[in-house]
């Protein structure tokens, strides 16, 4: 046992040593390239803690695989950088996922009124870029309930039409090809802007990360920057992400967002209570998405979108606890999963209450 431990420590030290070396080489190289040999000493003096932190961050490993000491250092670096940048005391938490928990979400589409408060509550909570690029993790779809009218004229006019050779094939009634409602995404609108809501001829379906049990994004990620944690939530190590956007392509729910530019987050609107895998400010060129508010739910509180919903259409809880609201909904209501046919097994359930 002790020997193993010793070996581990020495390897870590070696890695740390190599990192230090690489860091120093790169720092000197970079400054030499930019400023030329005459001003090297001046540049080194002027190199702020911020720049140092950035370089150290660049060379840090995957957070999940780090030792506790490395994690502490990484978090210290981030807290220092965010506190300086946003001019307020920022905490980056590393609370682990609660034990014996599988997070699930249920949303009542018969109650949702499409007011988009969840969208903006999420932005307030999770430090997304406010504009240019505007990043929102929830997309509210407005879907027509459909035309429930059948036409008597079409009863005899099915396909295939009777040909000159007689009536061949299986006749289906002409009404078979008329939309009769239901949830389809073909005619969904996401940029709707009405005076008041709800419009009674439409369903409203908010879509965010569905926290799949078999997440295609995790399969697609070439560097394993995105992964499923023990509570079933798919998370991203923003520092390990290389920004290749393979996960965005793989996600059937369009739930992932990419930071095309430097995030535009005003200091006064920044939320200083952050989590490493949750709402800490992101950088340009990384993916982000709904984390079920990791910084809140890992500490026992409900997600921000749930608290903002004025009609109580959103329910969150532990799928392993039969007393939880989500489990009671699964037991008593008519529940469906979005795009079930993809076999992603989402833990985000839509129901009719």
């Amino acid at each position: 046992m002790s020997e193993e431990k010793k070996e581990l420590i020495t390897t870590e030290d070696a890695i740390e040593g190599r990192r230090e070396f690489l860091k120093n080489v790169c720092l000197t190289g970079a400054t030499a390239l930019v400023a030329g040999p005459a001003s090297v000493s001046a540049a080194v003096e002027a190199a702020s803690a911020d720049a140092d932190t950035t370089v150290a961050e660049f060379f840090q490993g995957h957070f999940v695989l780090m030792s506790d000491v490395e994690k502490e250092k990484a978090i210290e670096r981030l807290e220092k950088r965010y506190t300086a940048k946003y001019e307020k005391k920022t905490t980056v938490s590393n609370v682990p996922a609660p034990e014996d928990t599988l997070f699930g979400y249920a949303l009542d589409i018969s109650k949702c009124i499409g007011c988009r408060r969840c969208v903006h509550a999420c932005v307030d909570e999770n430090n997304q870029s406010r504009n240019d690029p505007e990043v929102q993790w929830i997309q509210v779809m407005k879907i027509p309930k459909g035309n429930f009218a059948f036409s008597a004229d079409k009863l005899e006019k099915g396909y295939p039409e009777t040909s000159q050779f007689g009536d061949y094939g299986v006749q289906v009634g002409g009404n078979a090809h008329t939309r009769v409602g239901g949830i389809g995404t073909e005619e969904a609108q996401s940029h709707f802007d009405d005076l008041v809501t709800p419009d009674n001829d439409h369903f409203y379906v908010p879509v965010q990360c569905q926290q799949c049990e078999k997440p295609p994004c995790v399969k697609a990620c070439p560097v394993r920057a995105t992964f499923r944690d023990s509570a079933g939530v798919v998370l991203i190590d923003y520092n390990w992400c290389i920004g290749c956007r393979m996960c965005q392509l793989a996600c059937p729910y369009q739930a992932r967002r990419f930071n095309w530019g430097e995030p535009n987050l005003p200091k006064e609107e920044m939320n200083p209570h952050t989590h490493y895998f949750g709402n800490r400010p992101r950088m340009r060129g990384v993916m982000e998405k709904c984390t079920f508010c990791a910084q809140r739910t890992r500490e026992g509180r409900n997600p921000a979108c749930l608290e903002a919903c004025p009609v109580g259409a959103r329910k969150f809880g532990n799928l392993l606890d039969p007393e939880s609201e989500v489990r009671k909904i699964l037991a008593t209501k008519r529940v469906f999963r979005f795009k079930e046919e993809f076999g992603t097994y989402p833990k985000f359930f839509y129901y009719v209450g």
């Binding site: 307020k88 005391k89 109650k111 009124i113 499409g114 007011c115 988009r116 408060r117 969208v119 903006h120 509550a121 307030d124 909570e125 505007e134 929102q136 997309q139 090809h177 008329t178 939309r179 073909e186 005619e187 969904a188 609108q189 996401s190 940029h191 709707f192 802007d193 009405d194 005076l195 008041v196 809501t197 709800p198 005003p266 939320n271 200083p272 209570h273 739910t297 026992g300 509180r301 409900n302 921000a304 749930l306 608290e307 903002a308 919903c309 004025p310 009609v311 109580g312 329910k315 969150f316 809880g317 532990n318 606890d321 007393e323 939880s324 609201e325 009671k328 909904i329 008593t332 209450g353």
Partner: protein, 278 residues
């Protein structure tokens, strides 16, 4: 290396660099100007409503959660709705006694808190004695029976008292409001119920919804997600207006802003195109 770069090339490079720097400076200055103008023109909305406009107003207090420097709430600048809670239990009191029901709802209300409704009611707060300031039996005489009649007052709540549609015309004011004590509600057994616990009255008719509400399936609950955690239960009248509920289960409200259009797109008409028969 230096000998390879001719003076002309160097000059061009330097010019390009200068141009890039000046462009960047210009852009940042412009955006800063826009931001400051935006904040100057729009005063911060500090009074906003939770679910029912006019009946659930909360005022923003800075630094209400000193741990993170949070305000108690954040309001929407566009619609004046509460978007975000710093403290989900602000202004709540323990829910207190719930009537025992012998079904399997397994309602867990040991850690339940509610926001009292009485401070939010306009007429209730017009005098020191609540509604009794006028309805004391002398200024406004007590009604003799529960028969519907034309009301001279309170048209802002019920426009035409003869056409009160709750229960599709089978109910009238005094079926829920106590005839003798206007500070109370009253159920069909004559038990007086406070305005803070409307669920005890509504539940006597809407049993199915009441059972769902007790189980946590119907209605809003904020706070902890754990089944036995502390939660704020939202009571019936925080979301529904009992006087107009037949018209709208939930009164229509304004929407928050739609997401920005993709760069270069002028409008979202492509979404509204008819797709024809499928």
């Amino acid at each position: 290396m230096h000998s390879l770069i001719t003076p002309t090339k160097f000059a061009v490079l330097a010019l390009c660099g200068l141009l890039a720097i000046s462009l960047g400076l210009y852009k940042s200055a412009e955006s800063a100007e826009q931001m400051s103008a935006k904040t100057q023109n729009e005063p911060l909305v500090t009074d906003c409503y939770e679910s029912r406009e006019g009946y659930t107003t909360v005022t923003r207090v800075e630094g209400a959660v000193p741990q993170y420097g949070y305000p108690n709430i954040k309001c929407s600048q566009k619609t004046g709705a509460v978007l975000w809670y710093g403290d989900p239990y602000e202004g709540t009191v323990p829910m207190g006694e719930m009537p025992e029901i012998t079904d399997a709802t397994r309602g867990n209300y040991a850690n339940a808190v509610v926001k009292p409704r009485e401070p939010r009611l306009m007429y209730f707060n017009m005098g020191p004695d609540g509604c009794k300031t006028c309805h004391d039996g002398k200024t406004v005489p007590a009604p003799k029976n529960k028969k519907p009649r034309e009301l001279a007052m309170h048209q802002d709540i019920v426009e035409n008292s003869m056409q009160l549609m709750h229960g599709r015309g089978s109910l009238w004011c005094l079926d829920c409001h106590s005839a003798t004590d206007r500070n109370k509600l009253e159920n069909r057994q004559g038990v007086q119920i406070g305005f803070n616990q409307p669920q005890r009255l509504c539940g006597t008719c809407h049993g199915e919804l009441y059972i769902d509400w007790r189980a946590g399936i119907h209605g809003k609950r904020t706070g902890d997600w754990a089944a036995n955690g502390k939660k704020r239960w939202w009571v019936c009248t925080e979301c529904h207006n009992p006087h107009t509920v037949q018209v709208n289960r939930f009164n229509p409200i304004k929407q928050e802003a739609p997401p920005a259009l993709p760069r270069g797109m002028k409008n979202a008409d492509h979404e509204r195109m008819p797709h024809g028969e499928h």
